[in-house]
Symmetry: C2
Subunit: 479 residues, 2 copies
């Protein structure tokens, strides 16, 4: 670490200063910068490129499934936001309000969308007339603003963030149920196959569900810091909004009914999660599937052989045109270049030295394992092709092992408290009573029921009140 | 028209009620809907899909050229917006201001970005240190808000719109000059090859240039209504902003200098322009390169042969999997389906009748020419491939002919006034004096110098003051 520090490269924070290390990585790897508005961050090219890859992947999943992209206005009149009473209660404390335009005061103040249910559903009530108009399944990629007063953290908790929000309307309740499970599979797919991040799936408690939903499903990720974080959510809104917004359809039976709705979102927070999961003390670690630059070629040259070595680097790059490849042509030392590419999380580094080159060899360095290997240039394309998947899978498997090793079944309050203090993810049993949920939180110094595991059946009693348990739940501290 | 009207399809406006017809097309073709906030519109799937195609195309152009995508915050503190004095003068009358978050009043009010020069350049001043950091060329796809108090018109003049804004920084003045011309070529490429819209290229007058720029280049489009509209702009900002934002770089000569900057933008207004250029009294007309659905298959069936005909439609669709194809399976009449596909601007319709099918034939209908043609199914794929380009080129050529036919050289004020009253695009000569520019406007009942033609050299005198002309300029009424 000291060596890195001297060069102003690498990450200074100790392993346990997790949040500090995370912020340092974001800044030093040029992913994020601060803006003059507290809690609002700049997504620099390396971060935004990750988001574009997620957009491409997720767009393919939903478009193939029949979802259409749209764009609704940023502004929501106050009166519209107030239409669903649970919803407004949940969001209004964090709403940014536009009150003036130019020098004029607006007649009605406008909310910057914290989420778009209300503005979208006022249009849906015009568009939906009969069963022929259903299902309606729309999605938008947009910025949203939630003016949180808690301590902000880039990507994880920011006042403006980018996300997609999907909104669908169905004739039948079971179609809405199917939708929220299906979309959650899509989210798991993104985390697994793009970010190389294993997830926990569950259902939110009544206390933690989306404001205005019947129930909320979620993807949660357990981080090396010992905290969980919500990765994405899908909400079954039932008929709550269709009733508030007077969305009705004439069924095949000629009867007018309220349809069933869902909404679902994945945000740039997911980028922060992937970074937290994989990064180490040398900096960023990324799957080649999400990294903007997959391969950096570092030619090692002297004043004399610079031209030859840069030529060799170009030739090697030309063999790898299925990948995004950069050549570090700068006059910095190889050591500096190596540290820099490790800090920036470039998954594969190809080092070209004169002696190796004379033997038709190069050295491949893997960012995930920090291991070097000599490879014949003739075998390079094959090796890289294999490596792209290997690195992705290794990162996923490592994170999955961490998750398994750190999940503890805690069937009494003492064990639960101990697990939480040891920064574990606890599985425990719960009666379903909100009072016990609050007690769990206070007893553990702030850990929450992050979600209900819907696959496991409870066998014992509530970890707090000892009455018959209804649910198996995950408990952890969380962001 | 009457027939269409009876069915609630088609467009009611007479040919000269251009704005009405345009708005009707947007609403009836389900491209746009109103929102509860005046001047803010919903981009429905058919409109948003067009924007996605433009994004794909333009992203390819700029990424290949080395531009990187980013995302900067929506909010700009008032003090930052005020830093460049021409800039703030131009934009502050239209700024939407956030003054409150939740129940708290903000210490400093925040502008919703009308454009992002100020927020970006405050970051650039941190990022740029030496010539090695240049050129810096960034782009973002974002929403912006300009609270215009003029009559709004969907896509053409809306208070929130989507755009890309590119921002680049160079060591040398001539690099900035090259950038604004190069990017304008990219914009012309988009208009020509995606929208099938011919453009006029020019330089804005001092009066009309971007607030804070040295000069502005633009793409202008002359519409069938006889009005011109600005399609896209590139601004050479010189050192105006680098001086206001204290952006400096250490040159190879170890001397500190202010770099030269550009900014450039293309917005969803371009969708409105393409619609205005091509549409007719039956509704929307689009190039197959921009249409969400390129081909609609309409099987014509009775109760008895419905299954057979739908099967035939599916089989035909399977031969066309390079295109986006829809089958109209509804039980509506063929006439209704035909009108509907014409209203929605689907470029190619394949009609399948039982008798034709028995002869291994289908009928192809072209939306651009409204012509029908029988085609052997064996030749269908070839015919369609050719048609996709033919339709695009035909639309472009037709619009280009309109532009040529309606461009009039008006070398005296009487002819200029007559040209404008006849809804022509006038080319005339101008001395460069802002007073004459204003006189031209008042004499013609509101026509503006829309841009300076940089290719033509003036031969005569200013159309108004009769002094020696400096510029050949385009004059037209405009949106």
């Amino acid at each position: 670490m000291k060596k890195n520090k001297d060069k102003g490269l690498g990450i200074d924070a100790e392993k346990d200063e997790f949040g500090d290390r995370y912020t340092q990585i974001l800044l030093k790897a040029e992913l994020i910068d601060y803006s003059p508005v507290s809690g609002c961050y700049i997504l620099r090219p390396r971060a935004y490129a990750m988001w574009e890859k997620v957009q491409d992947y997720f767009n393919r999943l939903i478009k193939k499934d029949g979802v259409k992209n749209v764009y609704f206005p940023l502004f929501i009149p106050e009166s519209l936001l107030n239409k669903e009473k649970e919803h407004v209660k949940g969001f209004s404390p964090e709403v940014a309000w536009v009150t003036h335009a130019g020098n004029s005061e607006l007649k009605e103040k406008l909310a910057i969308r914290p989420t778009s249910e209300t503005i979208m559903y006022s249009a849906f009530s015009k568009w939906i007339r009969s069963w022929r108009d259903l299902p309606l399944r729309l999605n938008q990629w947009a910025n949203v603003v939630r003016w949180e007063f808690k301590h902000p953290l880039p990507l994880l908790r920011s006042r403006e963030f980018l996300w997609q929000e999907g909104h669908s309307v169905f004739a039948l309740q079971n179609e809405a149920d199917e939708e929220v499970y299906k979309i959650r599979e899509f989210y798991e797919d993104v985390f697994k196959n793009v970010y190389a991040v294993p997830v926990i799936k569950g259902r939110k408690t009544e206390k933690e569900k989306f404001a205005g939903a019947e129930y909320t499903l979620s993807i949660e990720v357990f981080l090396p810091s010992g905290k969980a974080v919500q990765g994405a959510t899908t909400h079954n809104l039932g008929q709550n909004f269709s009733k508030s917004f007077d969305i009705t359809f004439l069924g095949k039976n000629e009867k007018k009914s309220y349809p069933f709705q869902t909404s679902w979102g994945l945000s740039t927070r997911s980028i922060g999660i992937a970074i937290m999961v994989h990064s180490d003390n040398k900096g960023l670690v990324l799957s080649p599937r999400i990294a903007e630059t997959q391969i950096v070629i570092v030619p090692i040259f002297t004043e004399e052989n610079k031209k030859e070595m840069l030529g060799a680097a170009e030739e090697i790059k030309s063999k790898l045109n299925n990948y995004s490849v950069e050549i570090d042509t700068s006059d910095k030392t190889p050591g500096f270049k190596f540290n820099d590419s490790e800090l920036k999380g470039i998954p594969i580094r190809i080092e070209i030295g004169k002696k190796d080159l004379d033997k038709n060899e190069v050295t491949i360095f893997r960012r995930d394992t920090l291991k070097r290997e000599g490879v014949k240039i003739g075998n390079l394309a094959d090796t890289i092709r294999k490596l792209i998947d290997d690195i992705h899978n290794n990162l996923y498997n490592k994170a999955e092992k961490f998750l398994e090793d750190n999940t503890i079944f805690a069937n009494d309050i003492t064990k639960l408290k101990k697990s939480i203090s040891e920064k574990k993810l606890a599985l425990t049993e719960w009666c379903g009573d909100e009072k016990c949920e609050e007690h769990i939180k206070s007893e553990t110094g702030g850990a929450k029921i992050i979600c209900i595991n819907e696959e496991l059946k409870p066998k014992k009693n509530c970890v707090y009140c000892k009455k018959k348990a209804k649910y198996v739940v995950y408990v952890a501290k969380s962001y």
